[in-house]
Assembly symmetry: C2
Homo-oligomer: 296 residues x 2
């Protein structure tokens, strides 16, 4: 997907919302949990292993994975009119072992088939040396069908280079994250120039706004104006809205460029807007109220 | 596994070698590739999807995953007398989708059963905010059966905290990596104190040598003496030996403490010591010559 296509979607839907699919079985509504059936034996290992397997999209799902895919499908259908992107958080799928990876595949395939206008981000925070980075790029852009993947820059530019070689795909480098301990290292710096800025400048040297985005936390909204001054054109993926306390309105006020240039992520506040059977309509309502670009 | 147990193994085997299982189907000997059978259709997707599935250790394996597990088993059996640790590189398994994760599980289960004295590291370089870090800790220490996992520190101390709560398990924080672009950010610093040192000092404040190790590349052997001065007790995982050009002897000379305190990793130089049917004996020979502690 080109950045122009993404901008068109944002205008059309009136939103720059990204819905984070941090889907946690323990937080699902009872009705969805029940789909897992006998597979859900709560003692660690057995939880994910003894699933009554069912075939869906050509993949095998254990019981827990089935619940997760069904929950995701309902969330995706309910929120797609109000968002332009979906962002599965890989930790939540990997924690379920190989069935979790099948559930991730199934979720991505469902979005591609039913909401092909959506931008799909693997929230993976990967970052490794060249030949390993190449395998991760293959994982997300060939084995799986993502448009973009989040990357951690600690090991330098070669951790992102293999991702930039795929046309229409994006590396999303973590610059300034939304968590309390982000300041431990990201804000250290010589000559008044913090690490996150050096990371962004270095990454901008080797990329273009058509293959590179940056993660900048909404809990640091005051920094967004400063970041826009030296990074006017790249899309910024902004986490930290909702459960983490950041404000989407402030992020838009300080972080938007002339083409919006933002994807504002909310995960828990949307997924678990209701813990009851009305979870999907509650998620839709919450999504329809988050990251509207009318405020521009 | 306690650090004392690990030290005992190092003394017993006369080696601080860690064998990296960066297993790449394309590099396997023909005989092992052939095990994949009809499943190996080289056009991207089909490669990993149409496997003639077989049950092994209770998991389903596609054809390619079967080749990988069989190769790993042969390498593990051949090198176990000469090494104390194995380190699967997760990118190589994730690139195969859900079957790859099953192959990873199968490899770990095989090591646990046949070489229970071995220390098993997930080379994952994960690093994310608290609730996500917790899911990754669950992935490697509960869903899977690893002793340790490599972590990337960019997002701060909370990326490692959940891993420290598991007794007998280890977070291995990347400090100074072995790749050419490691200097992009790891060596930046105020007041002459580079980022990698700040990372190590901060992580040492919240951990002990019984739950924290650090990655320090062998291609930076001259730095090891300096690092030992401020980090005398933690185990250091040293990659970069072999294909990446670092010297195990130098790493031991500069990096060892009184209890060795090193795990020296070699991957490609051992796995692909021969591309023929004698790959396992060639790997054993190479392993028996790498990271011997006799040089201490």
């Amino acid at each position: 997907m080109t950045t122009s296509d993404l901008y068109e979607q944002i205008k059309k839907k009136g939103s720059c919302l990204c819905v984070g699919l941090d889907t946690d079985f323990d937080k699902l509504p009872k009705k969805i949990k029940d789909l897992a059936g006998d597979a859900y034996v709560k003692d660690g290992k057995t939880l994910y292993r003894n699933g009554s397997e069912i075939a869906l999209n050509g993949h095998l799902y254990g019981g827990v994975a089935r619940s997760i895919v069904e929950f995701n499908k309902a969330i995706v259908d309910a929120t797609a009119p109000y968002c332009v992107a979906f962002k599965p958080n890989l930790a939540f799928y990997e924690a379920l072992g190989s069935e979790g990876m099948a559930a991730l595949d199934g979720t991505v395939a469902y979005i591609r088939e039913h909401h092909p206008e959506s931008f799909i981000i693997a929230d993976a925070k990967r970052g490794d040396i060249g030949n390993t980075a190449k395998m991760y790029a293959k994982t997300y852009f060939e084995t799986m069908d993502f448009d973009a993947v989040t990357l951690s820059p600690y090991m330098g530019t070669e951790t992102v280079l293999p991702f930039l070689e795929y046309k229409g795909k994006y590396a999303i480098t973590v610059a300034l994250s939304s968590n309390p301990s982000s300041a431990d290292f990201q804000e250290l710096g010589e000559d008044g120039k913090p690490l996150y800025r050096r990371v962004m400048e270095k990454m901008m040297e080797i990329s273009t706004p058509d293959n590179m985005m940056f993660v900048v936390g909404a809990t640091k909204a005051s920094r967004l104006a400063e970041i826009r001054a030296f990074c006017p054109d790249n899309f910024l993926l902004v986490p930290g809205v909702g459960a983490q306390g950041g404000s989407a309105e402030e992020a838009i006020r300080y972080g938007a460029n002339s083409k919006v240039g933002l994807l504002i992520n909310s995960s828990r506040a949307i997924l678990y807007a209701s813990s009851d059977e009305d979870f999907a309509s509650a998620a839709a309502l919450k999504a329809s109220q988050t990251a509207r670009i009318d405020t521009l």
